[in-house]
Amino acid sequence: MNTSRFIETLAADPQPRGMGMGGKFWIAIGLGALLSAVLFATLVGPRADVDEAMHSLWFDMKFVDALLLALPSALLCWRLMRPDARPGSLAVLLVAPFLLLAVAVLIEMSSVPAAQWGAKMIGSNALHCLKVIPALAIAPLAAMIFAMRSGAPAYPVLTGALAGAAAAGIAATLYASNCPDDSPLFVASWYPLATLIVVAAGAIAGDRLLRW
């Protein structure tokens, strides 16, 4: 077929329909997070001493850190759905959760005797953390990938990986209220590992589903 003929086909239907790509993306993220929150509330739930724990700095830091991961990752994803997008200065913000965690670890190490570092790090349920965070990340990750299929990312693998990071951040925000270990030594050892699992899943999904 020659190109002029081909253009006739496209020109027959000039007006795009349906919801804009941005709206779809944020609704998907919201619904995914909501589903995970319901799953968390019914199957896992916050720990027994949550009211008391809320007054402890290290308990609260877990939420701040998880949200610091989720927010810039989601914003970057949203931006990278456009083919001409550059990650830009937002990418620098991805360092924030790791920087905060590193500072917290240093403070913890200076206030806790070295003999206890090992026990703090291993905590009481590391395996639980590695299971619950990826499980709670499934819904937001799937919803985001689905919504992003209407985009045209120049870097599908990276975009998928960032969706994984955003989903892991959302999952960690929920899980943090159940996790009985608040020491930054524990958080720094296991949360990033759980995040990495979800990031890898996101990268694979991006490679398979976000090409266009």
Partner: protein, 189 residues
């Protein structure tokens, strides 16, 4: 005026055309796609010759790019320029095509802005694979695409002939074009 200024002026024109197209103006959309096609053709020819892959199927890349522009037109940020967005899509499709043709050398692809001033007309004898690929669509979709592309029928006429509503034809056409993009992407892999 230097080239950069000329490009800004050209782009303002394109932005206006794209806005009119997205508001429903078929004639303007057709003209815009013709203009974009000529620039993409220049870009693809240059890239193919520098990577030393034959340019016999350059119309395939041009049409694949135009199809992607059509299917992804909602990813253009209306507040930004159009040429960088078109250039990003064209680059993506050209690299994809060269990879499928087994190009090993990846010379840097010319900036789209650089080819804006040197559009290339279509070779009247060049044909793309589109006609053959349309055969792979589901029967109803194939019917609709053929009616509009080969027979040059309007959506209204096609809807009347198939006793469908215009909306249903539009939806079916959109789905058909999406499938066509998929088929194209996997055709020569």
């Amino acid at each position: 005026m230097n080239i950069a200024q000329e490009n800004v002026v050209a782009d303002e024109k394109w932005v206006g055309m794209m806005r009119a197209a997205m508001a429903g103006d078929e004639a303007v959309y057709r003209r815009l796609l013709e203009e974009i096609g000529r620039s993409v053709r220049g870009m693809a020819r240059g890239a193919f010759s520098r990577a030393r892959v034959g340019d016999a199927d350059v119309e395939d890349v041009v049409q694949e790019t135009l199809l992607a522009i059509h299917l992804k037109r909602h990813t253009w940020d209306g507040g930004l320029r159009l040429a960088p967005w078109v250039g990003a899509i064209a680059r993506h499709k050209i690299i994809d095509a060269m990879r499928r043709r087994g190009a090993r050398r990846f010379e840097p692809i010319e900036d789209f802005e650089a080819v804006l001033a040197a559009p290339e007309a279509e070779d009247p004898h060049a044909r793309s694979d589109a006609e053959r690929l349309i055969e792979h669509l589901a029967p109803r979709q194939r019917d609709i695409v053929r009616s509009i592309s080969l027979e040059g029928q309007s959506i209204t006429a096609t809807a009347a002939r198939l006793s469908m509503s215009e909306g249903a034809v539009r939806v079916a056409l959109h789905r058909a074009l999406k499938s066509l993009a998929e088929i194209w992407r996997s055709a020569s892999q």
